[in-house]
Amino acid sequence: MVAPELSAGPLNLGTPQLQGAAAGVEVSHQKRLGIAGWLAIGWLGLLVGSAILAPILPVGSPTHLYLDFAGDGPGTAGHILGLDTNGHDVLAETIYGARESLIIAIGAVSAGILVGGSLGLIAGYFKGKIDLVISMLFDILLAVPALILAMSLSAFLRGDPSQGAGLPVEIILVIALGIVSAPPLGRITRASALTWSERDFVTAARAQGAKSYRVMTREVLPNVLPAMFSIALLAIAVVIVAEGGLALLGVGVDFTTKPSLGNMIAVYAQSDLRDHPYLVFTPIICIFLTVLSLNFLGDVIRAHFDARETTL
């Protein structure tokens, strides 16, 4: 099944970009979680929990160098996931890296939902010219491949750090990835708002004299939210992957001060793939399990709320 929210009409010039995770594979039509669902929740709980608690967990600092053990593989006493050739503890790096990646992903998707969601809601509710303008804006943003758009925004917003003028890289990534995720999220919200705005209870609210703002936030928005939420989970998965892509392209967060899952892959892939493959595979497995869990839960939620009914 194609995720219905994501399949752009054939006439659209730009097409949604979220598909990496959401290109329409849904694993289950059942609404129960099942073992896989609980495993997914468990993994995400572990990930988010350790990301939040990272500073008080007994893992040490990701930038501390254990020179005596440099280059030792997984299973080293006290360093369960091993160390890199400089002596960084991989477990600490992975936990702090996941923290960094999650902060960026959640920040970007929240920004995307806030901007894209409000625009989509306005477009779907008011229709007509406003819809035309907003949809055109989405189309234009979608007319550049998502990763290229995010890459160019982050590259240009950063400029030359030695001139000391730019914003912190995390903020730049949140802005860039937020801008990229706004149009697909906005389109889904718009499609959903379009149908809900036609419902009788909306007409009833309007007939009672409710202002547009009130109708939008009190009548339309609550019904649109489930569709947005299930897509938000998928979007977080996509942004976590995108952060990795950006790191490989050289516009990610600086590895030496702030490891992220993406820049760990980018840095270790360059020098350590042959001799210390666990350095590359640890963050990869971490991303894989996270994306898998998010996709799965996104599908379950979508099946639960039957998002199809809420979209065009």
């Binding site: 054939p10 598909q19 491949p145 030359d160 892509g245 042959r274």
Partner: protein, 316 residues
């Protein structure tokens, strides 16, 4: 005809917006662009950069200057302390690599996804179908660059079957060329296969329940012929939709996978420009990639309207 005119008008607007966006990126640079691009260049070189890009002129003049050069194939220059090199030469060498990778991975995707999709629709609900379904759900969760690294390590380093780095030009040695492209193409394909296969499967299942299939069956036509000759074609429209949806991801993925496998394509040009802070070059390459993407989407739309008359008549 009206359909074509409408599409064309839209295309022009989108192209103008996309080029303006790429051009405008330079304005986002914090600090002075010339110092950023060529920090240690002597003043006369800096002056030349300003004059060449009309950086001291109003923005519409800058845009016009940039656009009129761009359409004539002048993509600006790399500025080094020693002098400048045209970006177009670099792009001219690297775009074929990117194009090859995209074409190969599309071929690989279709080659694997179509038979799998057709077959799993035929055996829908069986154990094989469910296993395939679960595998594909997993496949879609692996980022292309991550899969690339996994393949590079296991197939390239451990087994040593295929090169995990570097590019061979097809005219130099075609066999080595194909060998050097298998892993990159495969890493791009796996995620796409999942998407294509699932869509084709669900569409085929629907088609297989149509009356004309029952009719064909009752005439005694073989299963193979029904699947490939009768059912596949009406189910292929969605394949095209998914192709359209995937082009953007494919371009983004290609750029990153090129870096993983050390292929000298546009991705390498992009990272080179980022690393060297060559923002004029970066701007042009971004515009180029975006324009190619826009045209690929137009192409898919046109194909779509050929296959489905309802779209052509604007009724879909």
């Amino acid at each position: 005809m009206a359909f074509l005119v409408r599409r064309l008008a839209r295309l022009v607007i989108v192209l103008l917006c996309v080029t303006f966006f790429s051009f405008f990126l330079l304005q986002l640079l914090p600090g002075d662009p010339v110092t950023t691009i060529a920090p240690i260049a002597p003043p006369e070189v800096k002056r030349a950069i300003i004059v060449e890009n009309k950086l001291d002129k109003p923005i519409y003049e800058q845009y016009w200057n940039w656009l009129s050069k761009f359409v004539r194939g002048d993509l600006g220059n790399y500025y080094r302390s020693s002098g400048k090199d045209p970006v177009s030469a670099d792009v001219g060498n690297s775009w074929p690599v990117t194009a090859q990778l995209i074409v190969y991975s599309m071929m690989l995707t279709l080659l694997i996804a179509i038979p799998l999709g057709v077959f799993s629709a035929y055996v829908a609900g069986s154990r094989f179908d469910r296993l395939l379904n679960a595998t594909m759900f997993g496949a879609i969760a692996i980022p292309d660059f991550a899969l690339g690294l996994v393949l590079a390590y296991f197939v390239g380093v451990r087994l040593g079957w295929l090169p995990n780095n570097g590019y061979v030009h097809p005219t130099d040695n075609f066999v080595l060329h194909i060998k050097s492209m298998i892993l990159p193409a495969l890493s791009l394909s796996v995620g796409q296969i999942a998407g294509y296969m699932r869509v084709l499967r669900s569409d085929m299942i629907a088609t297989l329940q149509e009356d004309f299939i029952t009719m064909a069956r009752s005439k005694g036509i073989s299963t193979k012929r029904i699947l490939w000759r009768h059912a596949l074609q009406p189910s292929s429209l969605t394949l095209l939709t998914i192709a359209g949806l995937n082009v953007g991801a494919l371009i983004g993925g290609t750029v990153v996978v090129e870096i993983v496998f050390g292929l000298p394509g546009l991705g390498t040009v992009l990272t080179g420009a980022i690393r060297g802070r060559q923002y004029v070059a970066l701007q042009s390459v971004v515009a180029l990639v975006a324009i190619v993407y826009v045209f690929m989407n137009v192409l898919i739309d046109l194909l779509y309207s050929r296959l489905d008359p309802r779209v052509r008549l604007g009724r879909a």
